[in-house]
């Protein structure tokens, strides 16, 4: 189908975009990569009166890495995040996960910040932000700039803390501390599809190889991405099954047309064990 009639704005600066959002708030939608919004417009699942196209805001097209972590501007495409070697070196999980977001052609246009705001429960990057304890910087005329922690950002399925008059400016992915390995893996029906279950893990070890912190983040297992701390689990078995079991027990997936709850929980167990093992082996002495 074709999208419904809409009034278009193509601001050239962030200030102008924020002003337009203040003026048209509840009736306007930000158009970033359009890889989620335009399908919804084409299927007429949404019909905003106005679109505020942020694709000319070149000032937000950046992926910056410093000693603390990686900052991804709102106009950085998934493909920019994937390609940035400095970002991969500081926060390997970014590339590990973004490579499983859709197909390369979609990643050429879709933005990482857009996928955070969109907050699909099966999307990868929200879980990455959550696992790393990242933040999103928002700006509006009303509230000025505010930083929202990942734990407060994903409110419900397709619902984030970004208000209707706010523009998401950048996402911050902190570099994991100490000797930390990470891993991402997922299962989808076809390569590039949204995952039925996806797991990201981070495992910190001390110099002797003992696990001092271990966490697993999940997508497709509930209305919002979730993180389970498995630091206290039994890591003595070389296959990490006990820790995976412990994590999967705390998830409460639902049945839907893509997979049953029981199958999802099974996937979570298998993928978590493999993922913890890979993350551990990346840094074990």
């Amino acid at each position: 189908m074709k999208p419904p009639p809409v009034v278009y704005h193509g601001p050239d600066t962030v200030d102008e975009a924020v002003r337009l959002l203040a003026e048209h708030g509840g009736h306007a939608k930000v158009l970033a990569g359009g890889q989620s919004l335009v399908p919804m417009l084409n299927m007429r699942l949404t019909a905003p009166a106005r679109l505020i196209d942020v694709n000319r805001l070149d000032e937000l097209a950046y992926v910056r890495t410093d000693l603390e972590g990686v900052r991804v501007g709102a106009l950085a495409r998934h493909a920019d995040v994937e390609r940035a070697t400095h970002a991969f070196e500081a926060v390997p999980l970014l590339r590990q996960a973004v490579q499983t977001v859709a197909h390369p052609t979609i990643r050429n246009r879709g933005t990482t910040v857009g996928s955070l705001v969109h907050a699909d429960p099966c999307a990868e990057m929200p879980a990455v932000l959550l696992l790393l304890d990242g933040e999103v910087l928002l700006r509006s005329d009303r509230a000025g700039e505010r930083v929202v922690k990942a734990a407060d950002f994903f409110v419900g399925p397709m619902e984030s803390a970004c208000e209707e008059d706010e523009l998401a400016i950048e996402a911050y992915f902190p570099k994991p501390r100490g000797r930390t390995g990470t891993d991402w893996r997922e299962l989808s029906r076809r390569n590039g599809d949204y995952a039925m279950c996806g797991v990201g893990t981070s495992v910190r070890v001390d110099d002797t190889g003992a696990v001092t912190c271990a966490k697993a983040a999940y997508i497709g297992m509930g209305p919002v991405p979730s993180v389970v701390d498995v630091t206290g689990a039994d890591f003595s078995g070389a296959d990490f099954c006990a820790a995976a079991e412990h994590a999967a027990d705390q998830l409460d997936p639902e049945d839907d047309i893509h997979a049953s709850a029981e199958y999802r929980r099974h996937l979570a167990r298998v993928l978590t064990a493999r993922s913890l093992k890979a993350a551990y082996e990346a840094v074990a002495p």
């Binding site: 193509g10 359009g34 890889q35 335009v38 399908p39 679109l51 197909h103 052609t105 979609i106």
Partner: protein
């Protein structure tokens, strides 16, 4: 409601093309309806099938998920532009003919544009890489085997033509 029209200029296959479009005109429909370039096909209109793929400033994107107004000032290459300067078949087009890489041809424009850009990035793909490269494009006819062969053949043809030019 009379829809507001936007003046846009898009460089299509090297030629600046002007148009007047409502905001909701998809880039694919601008090419097909306003410019009469019907090589770009629309299958699903939600980003899944890949038939509408074209190159925006050289990068493959779905033209069913971009508004024509957003493409104002940018350059687009469609399947019509994937040929040689004299109009002969380009290496990817030729390879599809040689390898019987199409049947009904509906999906073909999306494959041709995707592969054209891919070979710039990776001029000598393995068979596995070739499969990965076309993973975002659906074909309901061929079973993909001959399309994979066409990717490899196109890489050879492109190299041959480039070395003949030197």
């Amino acid at each position: 409601m009379t829809e507001q029209l936007h003046q846009i200029t898009v460089t299509v296959n090297g030629v600046a093309r002007r148009g007047e479009v409502p905001a909701r005109r998809l880039l694919a429909d601008f090419l097909r309806m306003d410019l009469g370039l019907t090589g770009t096909h629309l299958g699903c209109e939600h980003g899944v099938c890949g038939a509408c793929t074209l190159l925006l400033d050289g990068v493959p994107v779905r033209s069913c998920l971009i508004f024509a107004v957003s493409a104002d000032g940018h350059a687009v290459t469609t399947v019509e532009g994937c040929c040689e300067a004299g109009g002969e078949l380009g290496p990817v087009q030729q390879a599809f003919q040689d390898c019987h890489g199409l049947q009904c041809g509906f999906c073909t424009p999306g494959f041709i544009t995707t592969i054209t850009a891919y070979l710039e990035e990776n001029p000598k793909p393995t068979e596995e890489e070739a499969r990965e490269a076309i993973g975002g494009n659906l074909c309901r006819c061929t079973g993909y085997q001959n399309i994979v062969k066409a990717v490899l053949r196109a890489a050879d043809l492109k190299r041959e033509r480039e070395s003949a030019d030197e």
